[in-house]
């Protein structure tokens, strides 16, 4: 197995899928000659030419609509959002067209398309450039939503997304692109809809995804030193949620903390908690606790920015709360 950066793993998935299927093309801002705003498409223009690696004008709604139209007639577009903040301009085409085409046409049309790009706090970028928007998309029937934490999952999930017959939203971690990890070579597929137990434990389950996984891992290590054994469930797919895996871990540890970068109201964590309370109520030894981004806009100042996002100390405090340990 090779050690690759998250962005390299994505690049590999794109290159392999484009090699395998000439219907796949990539469109987005700066994906071609600039080699990608985050260098995910490095080298692809040279390999596949300008009809398949397309530098789009700054017209998010327009090129997203173009992608959806191409998918309606048999191509398999990958639409790169420079960041998901900008994709808000494209939301109409994603939500009102891509997600609803199969339905409105009574099953005549399909829309195999991937919308992908970075989400979450960028680092000292203030409120317009630092949003975890996955909950918005997870809301809509007709879409699938994935948010991998590791390079291996990034590769395997992107390959699945490109092969999927439905519109898939892929939220990559803006701060994860340079992160390294082992990535299986060649045909490495991670199925959409399957969560992954990233750490086995017995005292408490922490359910999370994307970049928050690393804060959870840090918290788990510290808790282990205190004799608390944490199980980490990385959801990886946010729509459809892997209910089975969520219930299995809760039934095992009887306690759960849900960690998400985004805002609390109508967050994905709220749905996870609902799944637990409605289907595993009798398995719980304590109310589930959520750790979320604070319910405010992101600030530029370092101390404010840090305070807004979940971190290991807040996660540890939440774990102690569900374990009824003092100091929580």
């Amino acid at each position: 197995m090779a050690e690759l950066m998250y962005r390299e793993a994505l690049n590999q998935a794109l290159a392999e899928e484009m090699e395998r299927d000439a219907n796949v093309f990539l469109i987005g801002e700066e994906v071609g000659r600039y080699q990608g705003a985050f260098k995910v498409s490095q080298g692809l223009l040279d390999k596949f030419g300008s009809a398949r690696i397309i530098d789009a004008p700054i017209s998010e709604l327009g090129f997203t609509g173009l992608g959806v139209g191409a998918a309606m007639v048999g191509l398999r577009p990958v639409v790169e959002m420079m960041t998901w903040n900008f994709a808000i301009l494209a939301m109409d085409q994603i939500v009102n067209n891509a997600a609803k085409l199969r339905h409105m046409s009574g099953g005549q049309l399909r829309c195999p398309i991937v919308f992908r790009g970075p989400g979450g706090a960028g680092g000292r970028l203030s409120s317009q450039h630092s949003q975890a928007l996955e909950a918005n998309y997870a809301h809509f029937p007709g879409l699938k939503v994935i948010a991998p934490a590791t390079p291996a999952d990034a590769k395997g999930l992107l390959k699945s997304a490109i092969r999927d017959e439905n519109p898939v939203i892929m939220i990559e971690g803006e701060r994860l692109y340079a992160l390294k990890g082992e990535v299986p070579e060649g045909e490495h597929i991670v199925p959409i809809g399957k969560a992954d137990v990233k750490r086995e434990g017995k005292d408490v389950s922490i359910i999370t995804w994307s970049r928050m996984y690393y804060f959870v891992e840090e918290a788990a290590k510290q808790l282990e030193a205190e004799g608390i054994s944490v199980e980490i469930l990385d959801l990886r797919t946010l729509r459809p949620l892997d209910e089975e895996a969520i219930l299995a871990t809760v039934r095992k540890t009887n306690r759960a903390v849900v960690v998400e970068e985004g805002w609390p109201l109508a967050g994905i964590g709220a749905q996870v908690v609902d799944i637990i309370q409605s289907k595993a109520f009798d398995d719980l030894d304590a109310p589930v606790v959520r750790v979320t981004g604070l319910d405010v806009n992101m600030s530029y100042a370092t101390n404010l920015e840090n305070a807004i996002q979940p971190d290991a100390p807040r996660i540890i405090a939440a774990v102690k709360k569900v374990l009824y340990r003092e100091g929580a």
Binding site: A22, G62, G69, A70, L75, N97, G106, G142, K144
Partner: protein
């Protein structure tokens, strides 16, 4: 009434009668749809095409049946012109299982993929972006088909219009944009909200061919589209065509249209494209009064049958709620005529596999890019 000598016409009798039949079908269909709305059989938003028939009929005869087409929510008539089953369109308006979308889409979302009608869209202007993508796919696969995209005058004020025309022009996409300028977006006269109400002039900003056509004259539409389609098919890029037309009825069934004068509507009705074509054909002695009568009679029966079919079609089964949201693995696409009428559908779109397909198009040729870089002293 025109008596005397026939004036020579360059059009065949067949063409004129086909157009007449289509326009008459659209008219009768929409009149019946309006009537059924009044009876409570159709609900929600229902936008009639009455008055604009020359546009859809002229376009259809000027393009190929396998060219792609999409429209907004005023979308009952164009599929009828393409050959869609009137009963199945009516059943969709009724919300019945016999509709093209099993009653899930309704009046604003008619889809008939077999006839290459890729839908009616309810978000003003959204189909403009989709059309560019479909045209892109044709170019990508090196097919010579074009995409025809209808939208309204008010839709031309949407951002997607400008974003998409820019890309379509830059990448020379084979798409014909037809703005049906009926002078109003709901109750707002286009002149009140458009700095330049002659929509076609906006093509100038993108360096593309643009033109205005009398959309109340089916032959003018036919000529203009025939020429534009050939130009687009030859690889010259998109055309923005403005069809100046008028809707005789309100914006939707809910609109009494009090924002325009009776006189204005009366004046426009004098331009009714249907009698206009008939007069032309009679004047040129291309058809006899009785032939029109026979067509009208046949169409009336066809529309009666369509209403009867819709009326007798059951509501969709509740199990349908859980279908057609996500495509499950191995799931096939639904072919409506097969599903509803049990007729074998053979013309369903088939695309080359990822191994068969050879992409030969270069959107921004590399030599060109390298040359430009070199001239600028850039090294990449």
């Amino acid at each position: 009434m025109f008596g005397g000598l026939a004036v020579a016409s360059k059009y065949s009798k067949d063409l004129l009668l086909t157009m007449y039949r289509k326009m008459y079908l659209m008219r009768r269909f929409e009149e019946r749809a309006g009537q059924q709305y009044g009876l409570g059989k159709i609900a929600g938003f229902c936008h009639l095409y009455i008055g604009q028939e020359a546009v859809a009929a002229g376009v259809e005869e000027a393009i190929r049946p396998d060219d792609y087409m999409l429209s907004g929510y005023r979308d009952h008539a164009q599929p009828l012109a393409r050959g869609s089953d009137a009963g199945m369109v009516m059943a969709e308006l009724f919300g019945r299982t016999g509709g093209y979308s099993k009653g899930k889409g309704g009046s604003m979302h008619i889809f008939d993929i077999e006839h290459h009608f890729y839908g009616g869209y309810g978000i003003v202007g959204a189909q403009i972006g989709l059309a560019a993508g479909m045209a892109f796919a044709s170019r990508y696969r090196n097919e010579d088909r074009i995409t025809v995209c209808y939208f309204g005058d008010a839709a031309a004020n949407q951002g997607i219009f400008h974003e998409t025309l820019n890309m379509a022009a830059k990448w020379k996409l084979p798409v014909l944009y037809i703005c049906e300028n009926n002078r109003y977006g709901m109750g707002t006269a286009i002149a009140r909200v458009a700095a330049v109400p002659e929509i076609h002039k906006r093509g100038e900003a993108f360096g593309i061919r643009h033109e205005a056509v009398d959309g109340m004259d089916v032959l003018k539409m036919y000529e203009a589209v025939k020429d534009a389609a050939a130009y687009i098919r030859a690889g010259n890029g998109p055309v923005l065509m403005e069809a100046n037309t008028y809707r005789f009825r309100g914006h939707s069934m809910a609109d009494p249209a009090t924002y325009r004068t009776k006189q204005e509507v009366e004046d426009e009705r004098k331009n009714d494209p249907i009698p206009r074509l008939k007069e032309y054909a009679l004047k040129h002695k291309l058809a006899k009064e009785e032939e029109f009568g026979a067509i009208e009679e046949e169409v009336k029966l066809q529309v009666d049958a369509a209403v009867k079919f819709a009326d007798e079609s059951p509501e969709p089964d509740l199990s349908e709620l859980w279908k057609d949201t996500i495509v499950e693995e191995g799931e096939e696409d639904v072919r409506p005529r097969e599903r509803v009428l049990g007729q074998k559908v053979t013309k369903w779109p088939k695309y080359p596999s990822g191994q068969e397909l050879k992409v030969t198009w270069d959107l921004e040729p590399r030599e060109q890019a390298e040359k430009a870089d070199k001239a600028a002293g850039l090294k990449r």
